[in-house]
């Protein structure tokens, strides 16, 4: 994109993209051949129909779902932290995911558990409203501290989560609720994950707006100067984020920390220019989720730990590391 001298940082995204793609391919291959029913490439070549069916019905859909959800959540976090100019704001620290879950519950109460369309619509709607409330809260209270803002979001999310829990308890839906609050790919089969392609589409759409998001991330004044409608761009970006988070909650359940951790690492390596960092973030989000999923299937083999739990543990550890790093980094600067 730039002709001027471009040593290390300028080409960094390409290099990370290439390395990441290779690693992702490797992990994808592992993912296809790990599981309760052992499948090996040799079986497939030998024309084992049953194993082929497992691959087509379960393994490939699972892989696709992981890649779609992981990349989308990573990108959603990236957009959110850029537009709010706060590296610790993500769908899981802004009440977005909890609001989406609340929406799914309300849809289930009103329309029964069968209506995927109602669940998705209400989840998106609630996620939008929840995110808007969080932003209004932060603006109204004039919090600008980099740690306080996500803390407000986490508290807001906790309140929404508690309300959800209360209604779920009263309706005797606690069991169902846990399916939405903890991501799990063990039930991902052909015919039950295809909504996630929508999320893939939204990720591609986000890339089209990459430059606008970067400009909006420079703040309102710079955006206005460059002729970018700040309010519209922020609204669009956060709508994208809410929609992505909501669909992921409906199809696989909440994935904590991913939207926080992936963009924090990639922007550190590649910088904040969305056009360059967005593809890298999509890739690393997919990779992170895939690795967590492989772990979730192998830690207690032959049993599966929900992937949300693994992501929570790993992501949480990275998150704590990032916070310490930012605190000490700020002190050193």
């Amino acid at each position: 994109m730039i002709t001027v001298a471009r040593p290390a940082p300028q080409g960094a995204d390409r290099r990370y993209l290439a390395i990441g793609a290779l690693v992702l391919l490797g992990a994808a291959a592992v993912s296809l051949f790990v599981g309760v029913s052992g499948i090996s490439p040799a079986d497939l070549l030998a024309g084992d129909a049953q194993k082929r069916a497992v691959l087509l019905e379960s393994r490939i859909p699972r892989l696709a779902a992981i890649v779609l959800a992981g990349s989308a959540m990573g990108v959603a976090g990236l957009i959110m932290q850029g537009l709010t100019q706060n590296r610790f704001v993500a769908p899981s620290t802004a009440g977005t995911i909890e609001s989406a879950t609340f929406g799914v519950l309300v849809a289930t109460l009103w329309f029964g558990s069968g209506s995927v369309f109602a669940k998705m619509t209400l989840a998106v709607l609630f996620a939008l409203v929840g995110t808007a409330i969080f932003l209004a809260l932060v603006e109204r209270l004039r919090f600008s501290d980099i740690i306080v803002v996500p803390l407000v979001g986490i508290m807001f999310g906790a309140v929404v989560g508690a309300a959800t829990m209360f209604f779920a308890f009263r309706a005797d839906l606690l069991q169902t609720l846990s399916a939405w609050t903890t991501a799990d790919f063990s039930g991902t089969l052909r015919g039950r994950y295809e909504l996630l392609w929508l999320v893939g589409g939204l990720t591609v759409l986000a890339y089209r707006y990459a430059d606008r998001f970067t400009v909006a991330g420079m703040g309102r004044d710079h955006a206005v100067n460059l002729g970018v409608d700040h309010r519209r761009t922020v609204t669009l970006g956060l709508a994208l984020v809410a929609a992505v988070s909501a669909v992921v909650v409906v199809v696989v359940g909440a994935i904590p920390f991913l939207g926080l951790v992936a963009p924090n690492i990639t922007t550190l390596l590649v910088g904040d220019n969305m056009r360059r960092v967005l593809p890298v973030t999509a890739l690393s989000g997919a990779l992170f989720l895939l690795v967590c999923d492989i772990l979730s299937r192998t830690i207690r083999y032959p049993f599966e730990v929900p992937v949300g739990t693994v992501v929570g543990v790993l992501g949480g550890a990275v998150f704590v590391f990032l916070i310490f790093r930012s605190r000490f980094g700020a002190a050193a600067a």
């Binding site: 730039i2 001027v4 001298a5 991330g217 100067n225 922007t267 550190l268 220019n273």
Partner: protein
């Protein structure tokens, strides 16, 4: 031409810009001077449509700044605010490239690249073009932002205290750039400056503000004058006339209010 017509800005009961009328014709460098809080930034922000006026109208070449679509105005008018501590991790070259966004929409042509390279060279940023903004000094960052605005290549450029973090060499270089933008590229630059001597030396016209109003407006030799400066800054500043034009001797000066020398007045508080 920038036509400022009866512009007013109020915050609560305080009127910080008060019915300002100002015509700035095409071409040349216009400096805006005045004490802290005089309303310079507020006025400039309203011209640059960063701030909505409470009253009045501003047009740029006949286009109302509040009504003209953002992208269109961004190709005619650019504005850089006083403070730019952005924590974004963009390389200097990337930031300057974003100056072309209103023209390119993100797809840079060879012409865009020419503008970018020229802006980087003008502000002496070549050696740090690949470095990230968050790893630069305040002055280096300031220059990167000026380069971005230069790359934007608009007919009108508004700069709020562009020199405030620059060292002597880069301040001089930046003023030269500003001068050249007017002389060679036929741009109109409105710049807020605090040093009246810099303003006098580099501009074609100086506008002085006080308490939200324009209180002096004229050529450097008209405005850099003992009586005018006393009125603008409430400060007695001897002006000596040199070959390089008028020079305000704003060192070892005295206050007009009370007419006591500053040194002895602060002495009272010891």
């Amino acid at each position: 031409m920038i036509d400022i017509d009866g512009i007013t800005k109020r915050y609560g009961k305080a009127t910080v810009v008060d019915r300002v009328n100002l015509q700035i014709p095409r071409g040349g460098v216009v400096s805006l001077i005045g004490a802290n809080g005089a309303g310079k930034s507020t006025l400039l922000s309203m011209v640059g449509r960063l701030l909505e006026p409470c009253d009045g109208r501003i047009t740029v070449d006949g286009h109302d700044v509040q009504a003209t679509p953002g992208p269109e105005l961004a190709r005619r008018l650019s504005v850089l605010r006083q403070e730019n501590h952005l924590p974004v991790r963009l390389a200097v070259g990337e930031l300057v490239a974003f100056g072309r966004f209103p023209h390119s929409g993100g797809r840079l042509s060879t012409r865009d690249h020419d503008h970018i390279d020229r802006a980087i060279a003008h502000l002496d940023l070549g050696p740090m073009a690949h470095r990230r903004l968050d790893q630069l000094s305040g002055g280096q960052r300031q220059r990167a932002f000026i380069a971005m605005v230069l790359a934007q290549d608009t007919d009108y450029v508004l700069l709020d205290e562009p020199l405030n973090t620059l060292d002597m060499r880069h301040a001089a270089q930046t003023m030269d750039t500003i001068r050249r933008m007017a002389d060679d590229l036929d741009k109109t630059v409105v710049v807020v400056l605090h040093d009246v001597n810099v303003a006098a030396h580099h501009s074609d016209r100086i506008v002085a503000m006080k308490h939200g109003r324009v209180v002096a407006d004229g050529s450097p030799s008209e405005v850099v004058d003992r009586d005018v400066l006393r009125h603008v800054f409430d400060l007695d500043v001897p002006v000596s006339h040199t070959d390089a034009g008028p020079v305000a001797m704003h060192f070892g000066r005295a206050c007009t209010s009370g007419d006591a020398p500053l040194a002895s007045r602060t002495g009272e508080f010891r």
